[in-house]
Amino acid sequence: MESHHERAAAGDDRAIRFTGNWREYLPIAATNALLIIVTLGIYRFWASARQRRYLWSRTHVIDDTLEWTGTGKEMFLGFLIVIAILAPFFLFIQFLFPALMVRGKIEAASGILFLFYIALIYLGGFARFRALRYRLSRTYWHGIRGGSDDPGWNYGGEYLGRIALAAMTMWIMFPWAQTKLWNARWNAMSFGPLPFSAGLETEGLKARWALVYAAPFAAMIVAFMIIATLGLGMGVQDGPNPTIGGAFIAVLLLIYIAIPLATLHWYAKYYRHAAAATRLGDLEFDFDATTLQWLGLFLGNLALAIVTLGFGLTYWGYRNWAFMVRHMRVYGSVDLGDLTQSTTHAPREAEGFADAFDVGAI
């Protein structure tokens, strides 16, 4: 069997690159938006299949593009199946909870609600695993696809346990939960015959997580400095002082901005570490987006949506995907002769659960 090696080179010759452009995507974005509106949202499954077909086909890996083979129909059916399973459950809770509350059975109602949220967290973890598995199973490269033989039920349990532990420790354990879950998820995935292997550690991520706790205090200190500076110039006045109220709002605002920023700062590093700790056969990955670049992406998305009076929303998926690909590097080689077809079971329920719980795959 002849073998074929490709090695990533520097510069424009990157092993993974995005070749799409917004003008080429415009007809897809526009028709998707129109069809979603006139079908009361039912078209969104086909819209997302079209979007992915475009994005995958404009993502060049080594010497060929990726290919998305998932269909709108299977995502729609997957969604209906999940709704059929979840709807009775939701409706039951929706009647039971107010019925207990109005009778003053607060403990019983809280208990039911607690169990309900436990089930939601479990299903949320399960959904995230299934979404990743589904996406890999519909992603082809050189005629070969990915997948997983793990149905993800255990992952749901592990997710619930680790999130519960993190919550019980006031989220101090969150970095451990996230890294362990990343590993659990990716170690169950494969592409062709090659298993993914992820060995993400919390090393280097703990200090940044501590910043999330420090952020509100830092914001308060900054705010008090502002108040002190303003206070010096005010002198003695009678009656309520409007600047004090303004300063109070400024403190709140700063805290509301500081915590998400610190969290983003953590996630930026988390994703860089996660990519570096993940391998596929001999292939190694690298992801180099900084906190500022992530911020630029989110603010850009927001600005685009505002300036275009909402139409820009249809470009969020495009921009996010392009961002991921542009910041991604792949190193190493693939032996094409050894990259045989995946033997994993291709799931049929598509992303119904992920869709229902609104979680991403990565």
């Binding site: 069997m1 002849e2 074929h4 070749t19 028709t31 129109l34 069809l35 509106i37 006139v38 079908t39 009361l40 949202g41 039912i42 078209y43 969104r44 086909w46 299949a49 079209r50 077909r53 475009y54 995958w56 086909s57 060929d64 593009t65 290919e67 083979t69 269909t71 709108g72 129909k73 709704i83 979840l86 709807a87 939701f90 409706l91 929706q94 009647f95 107010p98 019925a99 109005v102 009778r103 003053g104 059975k105 082809y140 490269w141 050189h142 005629g143 070969i144 696809r145 062709g192 693939v334 094409l336 002769g337 050894d338 990259l339 045989t340 077809q341 869709d355 229902a356 719980f357 609104d358």
Partner: protein, 350 residues
């Protein structure tokens, strides 16, 4: 003859192949090694590819891909079906007809879903609605304020504005709940609940206005109407608009249309007039609530959410006050005291 690249779907290895169209309905593939294959046109499908490339797949072999220069499309056009663009169900009728048909159907569905409950609700037997209501509220359990004199005063107040309303098999059942939120609501099945602050922080005349408004919702079947609307079109839209998990919570929350609110207000004003109670205190209550809402966000938020309050509504009640009319108090002094103490624990009896 066209030169192309083939992935066989078994390995990632690309094979150089030459392709010719055989008898107008097959592709004949040949490799230099001597390997050859024929593929029926029926199993071929076009896949998405960047400009300059024609990528074909097979419906019977998942990973099989044949990449040809885009120029080959003309030569193969007879073999390839139409390119799937928007999804088969849209492609079949074409984009523009699909948009027009979709817009028309959506218009009819939304229109019917929004308007139809108004016509259906009056025909829903009250006993059905009562079953739903009873399942939800029962006897209100421990939250209910059970002071007998207070309860009697509350029922008398409803009778003052709507004589006969609390009697009969489908009579309105009014209950005070010991919940520290300013609110009052009509629930399915003719139940009206009033939360404690709506009793203790108002006067009987303003409470009479609020109760009359809720009685109007019950009598006009607005509650059943809102339920049908929420379970019909409301659920449908939320379902497909995305994120079911978060939205499922809202499915059973009832909301009235603007028209229904206005009608309940008009009815309430008429009821107050017939009862000889001034609408002015109700107007003052609305003004006070909307002012407090502006000053202390959160206060009275519940009430405002279920009863969108505008200064216009206050003006409407205020304008209905007749300066020449001889208004009487809504309750006697004793009844007013009893009502005020309806939730006091010292007078609560199980």
């Amino acid at each position: 003859m066209i030169e192309g690249t083939l992935y066989d779907g078994a390995t990632a290895h690309p094979h150089a192949v030459s392709v010719v169209v055989a008898d107008g309905r097959r592709l004949a593939l040949r490799q230099e090694s001597g390997w050859s294959d024929r593929v029926e046109a029926g199993v071929l499908k076009r896949m998405d590819a960047p400009a300059g490339l024609l990528r074909l797949g097979r419906t019977d072999l998942p990973g099989w891909r044949l990449m040809l220069p885009a120029a080959a499309e003309a030569e193969l056009s007879g073999l390839l079906g139409r390119h799937e663009r928007y999804g088969r169900w849209i492609d079949r009728i074409g984009l523009v007809p699909a948009l027009v048909a979709g817009a028309a159907i959506t218009g009819v569905v939304v229109g019917t879903g929004y308007i139809a409950p108004h016509w259906i609700a009056p025909h829903v037997p009250m006993s059905w609605e009562r079953n739903v209501g009873t399942a939800i509220v029962g006897d209100f359990g421990d939250l209910r304020c059970r002071d007998a004199k207070g309860q009697k005063a509350l029922e008398d107040l409803v009778e003052r504005v709507a004589p006969g309303a609390t009697r009969g098999p489908n009579g309105i059942k009014v209950a005070a709940l010991n919940v520290p939120i300013f609110n009052a609501a009509a629930l399915p099945g003719g139940y009206i609940v009033v939360f404690k602050p709506a009793i203790t922080e108002t006067n009987p005349e303003a409470l009479a206005g609020v109760l009359a408004h809720e009685v109007a919702h019950v009598r006009r079947r607005h509650v059943a109407e809102a339920m049908i609307r929420e379970f019909g079109i409301g659920a449908l839209i939320r379902l497909f608009a995305g994120n079911v998990g978060a939205n499922a919570e809202q499915i059973v929350s009832l909301s009235y249309t603007r028209d229904n609110e206005a009608q309940a207000d008009s009815d309430a004003i008429a009821m107050l007039k017939r009862a000889g109670i001034s609408p002015k205190p109700t107007a003052d209550l609305f003004t006070k609530l909307s002012k407090q809402q502006r000053e202390i966000p959160g206060y009275g938020a519940e009430f405002l959410q279920s009863h969108p309050l505008s200064d216009k509504r206050a003006v409407k009640f205020s304008a209905a006050a007749d300066p020449k009319a001889h208004y009487r108090p809504a309750l006697s002094r004793d009844d007013e005291d009893a009502l005020f103490d309806i939730c006091s624990s010292r007078r609560t009896q199980k």
